[in-house]
């Protein structure tokens, strides 16, 4: 099947792999949003690092520049050409994930990184983007056949293999990204509504299972499998879902915020204090006391948005969320208006992944979700993640920039 679709794409006369003219047709709204968010990110990161770790800011700017070059290159490339390589990329990333598993197994611990000579790569991070391409390719090839149940189920097999490998690392946050991505792309690909509804229902049924799982969990007790001589010693029961003890502790701390405010709940409590004390207009740039006195943990990575909330207040928070919203909605407009399915699916996938990151990260800082370790695009410190995000932006920009594929404006379609 793969050979046939490749054949089809190559026969398409309009494919021109690299077309620098695409750059002239870039969408200025996306670019504006990205630049403003990047600027906000640098300023916030400066406040978070101050003079002590100023090189973090330089590294972040370096990541932004590398990412910009990559985004420009990706804009010039026809995304359909990239999609045609998706099965290959998928295969490679599954192999890399397996390699991570193996090296981790050999080293006798859990591993997320893979050493390849001088470079260290984190296959789970790039798997997110690869999955967007893979599902685009798969749904494009299927077309309307996605309405058939067996093809629908096959989607979950495709997604499931790398997801399980990532879960096994264990990396719950990245694995969780796969769920909204798959669901959103299935939805836009045109699956049967009741198929999707059934999946969502099955998904929701996880909550009672989590409840049962957490019911007997005691954060003070020894982890499952601990062997003690003391018959009185409490040992946690075996996990049905295979959750590790530290993950259960996080869920427990989320469900019981008063438990151990200096431990797992400490992050959430301090983050809420940080945000809440900002008030309407914030304490002023570089005036955040919670950060200066190190109360806010991870204040340059996962909790950087709390710092923004403290220094810029409700107004600043709303402006940044509005910028994110503008970016995401513009991306979805590409999806809606792209005249062919691959572009629609690609844009949907990219927007969903980014939206999921934005939502979960901010929800963690305000204490409505348990701490998951998902970074915030454009703001959190992390060079490889920044580059990934910029690559997403590049791919997104290339969708409306394709020649002869301009926006099909509403009025044009009728």
């Amino acid at each position: 099947m793969a050979a046939r679709s490749l054949e089809y794409q190559i026969r398409d006369a309009s494919i021109r792999v690299v077309n620098w003219n695409n750059l002239r047709r870039m969408d200025w709204m996306i670019i504006g949003c990205v630049l403003l968010l990047a600027l906000a990110g640098f300023l916030t990161l400066y406040s978070a690092c101050r003079s002590m770790e100023i090189e973090l800011l330089y590294r972040q700017i370096g990541g932004f520049l590398i990412g910009t070059v990559l985004a420009v290159c990706l804009t010039a490339v026809d995304y359909r050409f990239l999609v045609s390589f998706a099965p290959l990329a998928y295969g490679i990333s599954v192999l890399l994930l397996l390699a991570v598993e193996l090296t981790g197994y050999m080293a006798g611990g859990s591993e997320r990184w893979l050493e390849l000579g001088p470079i260290r790569i984190q296959p789970s991070e790039m798997t997110k983007l690869v999955m967007v391409f893979m599902l685009t390719w798969y749904f494009h090839v299927l077309g309307r056949r996605i309405r058939k149940l067996h093809w629908f189920i096959l989607t979950f097999v495709i997604v499931g293999v790398p997801t399980l490998l990532i879960l096994a690392q264990p990396n719950l946050g990245t694995a969780a990204t796969m769920a909204p991505l798959t669901l959103a792309m299935l939805w836009v690909a045109g699956c049967r509504m009741w198929h999707l509804a059934a999946v969502v229902l099955v998904g929701l049924s996880i909550f009672p299972v989590v409840y049962l799982e957490m019911k007997d969990f005691d954060p003070e007790a020894a982890p499952f499998g601990t062997v003690t001589d003391n018959p009185e010693a409490k040992v946690n029961p075996k996990s049905m879902l295979g959750l590790k003890d530290y993950q259960k502790k996080r869920i427990y701390a989320f469900l019981h915020p008063d438990y151990d405010p200096k431990g797992s709940g400490w992050h959430t409590t301090q983050s809420k204090i940080t945000i809440g004390s900002g008030g309407l207009s914030g304490k002023g740039y570089l005036q955040g006391t919670q950060t200066r006195l190190n109360y806010l943990p991870e204040h340059h990575t996962d909790f950087i948005f709390s710092l923004l909330g403290e220094e810029q207040g409700f107004i600043g928070v709303c402006i940044v969320i509005a910028l994110f919203a503008a970016f995401l909605f513009r991306g979805l407009m590409f999806a809606r208006d792209c005249p062919e399915m691959q572009g629609t699916l690609l844009a949907t996938g990219i927007v969903t992944v980014l939206a999921f990151h934005i939502f979960v990260n901010i929800a963690v800082t305000v204490g409505v979700m348990p701490v998951t370790g998902i970074p915030l695009p454009f703001l959190s410190y992390g060079r490889s993640f920044y580059i990934t995000v910029m690559a997403c932006v590049g791919v997104l920009l290339s969708i409306p920039a394709r020649p002869h594929m301009r926006f099909v404006h509403r009025k044009g379609v009728s």
């Binding site: 494009h140 077309g143 309307r144 959103a184 939805w187 836009v188 045109g190 301090q270 809420k272 204090i273 940080t274 945000i275 809440g276 004390s277 900002g278 008030g279 309407l280 006391t289 919670q290 006195l293 190190n294 109360y295 909330g309 207040g313 409700f314 928070v317 709303c318 969320i321 994110f324 919203a325 995401l328 909605f329 979805l332 999806a335 809606r336 208006d337 005249p339 062919e340 399915m341 691959q342 629609t344 949907t348 927007v351 969903t352 939206a355 934005i358 939502f359 901010i362 929800a363 305000v366 409505v368 002869h404 301009r406 099909v408 379609v413």
Partner: protein, 653 residues
């Protein structure tokens, strides 16, 4: 350009994308609502929590007030206990090794132990690493001289309580300990967990005067690291400029400096106290010396005693906690009888024995039962109608016909059996309470024992569960009470107060240790006449030249002084029992009588009253009276030399 050219676009795809957009919009709106809740609705709550996070009230400890004796001698003070500490963060990395080696050479502390302690606090480079605790002055000077080549080495001074006379007066001064059950009650006064407070004696009673006002420094509080205390040039505590993690601290508000506690002046004569303790050494007992006119306590000795310095520690968790001193402290607290922590002078009661006759004589004279000429015949024993037994006089051959003066001088029991019966138990009780027996004297020391003068009501209550004939008060009980036996009990301090009333002309005094505390003005209890008669009897008791037979207290006689006294031998068990033993020395120690002697000096200033009790000392005349002579001689000696300090505790003065 046209959508129909695109075979893969199905109808309704744009609707589905729009619904997806709607879902994202909903999620983001939800987040904004949550921010509204945190930042607008609950803002103040979180602002307070953030402010609480920011500042730290670091306490600067104050000095405890000094305690002085009657002659201005310092009884308790605070010595400067200096610790040599090293702050690794203030020393350049490459010099640390060298500094540690220099410290080893200067202070004789093994470098390994310093390095291992530095290793333990590696995460907090600005935490003070104690090199040597409580150093002597030479060590301190040596370190200060070499301070240029010892970056990061500091001398931190903290006050430490010192009782300069050691065990002399130890029970009076009391001791310090960590606050415990008092905390709840004292919290409004600014006490906190871990405070060192007075746990006994004067330290306890005057805790709130002696305690100073702690100072505060309000400094920045970081999520990790704690502020450390240092000493400035004047020796006052200050907060060091960096906390244990090396964060720079800023004083966020004006500092309040600590204020030392009030000075306390006692009536105690430390020389006399020491003399009394030396006189008693080897015995178990107590000596009380009161200023008979004011009630000021000149000495309140009780043996065995203890040295309150063993309770002195700055920090209960300090590395000294396993030292010998600490074992000593535990041994003290769990000591078997005779417990040195327990002052026999005012917390233990004994049958007053013949000392009680002083009260009985005074009461009978006041009530008009007898006058100075009334006589009773003493045949050596006494019988009352209906009682199946006889009460003996201590002198089996009897005293013949005696009046009240002679009865006091020779301690005739039969005379007082008669007086007691005529006076009646109710009057005896009334006068006992008036003169300070059976009630608390009101001394400013904790845990005073009120002792007991039995009454019919008391007996009925005590034997409430027994047959009715056991509850009844019999005339025989009154007879027993008349000579201070039976259930009667008094503390040596109470007996001294009783004697003081005879000395000062009939006023009951309130004994007190603090000179600021004025004794209550009380009405005169005894008439001039009564005082004259009782004094005459008690003088005759001590008088040597008196016609034979001589008084029982002649061992206390001092040439040229008007000393009055009364002996007492309080039976621990009945006389009959004593008769089993041919020799007095054969009686086992715990069955021997307690020896009492009360004395008063009438012709010197200040007039004093003395009470001596020697547990199981046999006879007041032989075991207690000679001690009174020593005490009185010491107090009125020609050349009052100041007493020698018990110990200096390592630091030169």
């Amino acid at each position: 350009m046209d959508s129909e050219k695109e075979p893969n676009r199905y109808e309704g795809v744009s609707t589905r994308v729009q619904l997806l957009a709607l879902a994202i919009a909903l999620a983001l709106t939800l987040l904004c609502a949550r921010f509204w809740q945190l930042q607008i609705v609950n803002m103040h709550e979180y602002a307070v929590m953030a402010r609480d996070n920011q500042v730290w009230e670091k306490r600067l400890p104050s000095d405890r007030g000094l305690i002085f004796g009657r002659n201005g001698e310092v009884l308790a003070d605070n010595r400067a206990s200096a610790d040599i500490v090293f702050v690794p963060g203030e020393c350049p990395e490459e010099q640390r090794e060298h500094v540690v080696q220099r410290l080893e050479a200067l202070l004789k502390v093994p470098a390994d132990s310093i390095l291992s302690r530095m290793q333990a606090t590696r995460g907090a480079p600005f935490q003070q690493v104690v090199v040597k605790r409580d150093v002597v002055k030479e060590d301190r000077v040596r370190v200060e001289e070499h301070s240029a080549e010892l970056p990061g080495v500091l001398v931190v001074v903290a006050p430490q309580r010192r009782y300069l006379y050691g065990e002399t007066g130890g029970q009076i001064l009391g001791f310090l300990g960590e606050i415990s059950s008092e905390l709840d009650e004292w919290k409004p006064m600014g006490y906190r967990m871990g405070d060192i407070v007075g746990k006994g004696g004067i330290e306890r009673v005057y805790e709130h005067d002696l305690r100073g006002q702690d100072g505060y420094a309000v400094v920045t509080k970081y999520a990790s690291g704690r502020p450390e205390i240092r000493t400035d040039r004047r020796g006052l505590p200050v907060v060091s400029p960096r906390d244990s993690q090396g964060h720079e601290l800023r004083e966020e508000a004006a500092r309040r400096n600590p204020v030392s506690g009030e000075e306390l002046y006692l009536t105690i004569d430390m020389g006399l106290q020491k003399a009394c303790e030396d006189i008693l050494r080897g015995e178990v007992g107590a000596i009380v010396v009161l200023n008979a006119d004011t009630g000021g306590v000149l000495a309140l000795a009780s043996m065995p005693t203890y040295d309150p310095n063993v309770f002195v520690t700055r920090d209960p968790n300090c590395e000294h906690s396993d030292t010998l001193e600490n074992c000593e402290r535990l041994n003290l607290l769990r000591a078997p009888e005779p417990n040195p922590m327990f002052s026999r002078a005012y917390r233990e009661n004994y049958p007053p024995g013949s000392v009680f006759k002083v009260l009985l004589a005074a009461a009978a004279l006041e009530e008009g039962i007898i006058d100075e000429h009334s006589t009773f015949f003493c045949p050596g024993k006494f019988q009352i109608n209906g009682a199946g037994r006889a009460w003996h006089c201590w002198r089996r051959s009897g005293h013949g016909s005696v009046n009240v003066r002679e009865a006091l001088a020779y301690s005739c029991d039969v005379f007082f059996y008669n007086v007691g019966l005529r006076l009646g138990v109710d009057k005896i009780n009334e006068w006992s309470h008036k003169m300070g027996l059976g009630v608390k004297t009101g001394i400013d020391l904790p845990g005073e024992n009120p002792a007991l003068i039995p009454s019919p009501e008391w007996k009925a209550e005590l034997f409430a569960s027994k047959p009715v004939w056991d509850q009844k008060w019999y005339p025989g009980d009154t007879v027993n009470l008349s000579i201070g036996q039976g259930s009667a009990a008094a503390t040596p301090l109470q007996c001294a107060v009783l004697t003081a009333a005879i000395v000062n002309g009939g006023y009951r005094i309130q004994p007190h240790l603090n000179v600021e505390l004025d004794p209550k003005e009380s009405a005169r209890l005894l008439s001039e006449k009564t005082i004259e008669i009782v004094q005459a009897g008690m003088l005759q008791c001590v008088e040597k030249q008196s016609p034979a037979p001589t008084g029982t207290g002649k061992a206390a006689y001092i040439e040229g002084m008007k000393i009055m006294g009364k002996t007492g031998s309080a039976q621990v068990m009945s006389l009959k029992h004593h008769e089993q033993f041919a020799n007095e020395e054969d009686i086992p120690y715990e069955f021997r009588d307690h020896a009492w002697f009360v004395a008063g000096v009438l012709d010197r200033s200040p007039r004093i009253s003395v009470c001596i009790l020697v547990e199981h000392g046999h006879h007041g005349s032989s075991a207690a009276a000679p001690l009174a002579k020593d005490v009185i001689e010491y107090f009125y000696r020609e050349d009052p030399t100041p007493p020698v300090l018990a110990r200096l505790d390592g630091t030169p003065q």
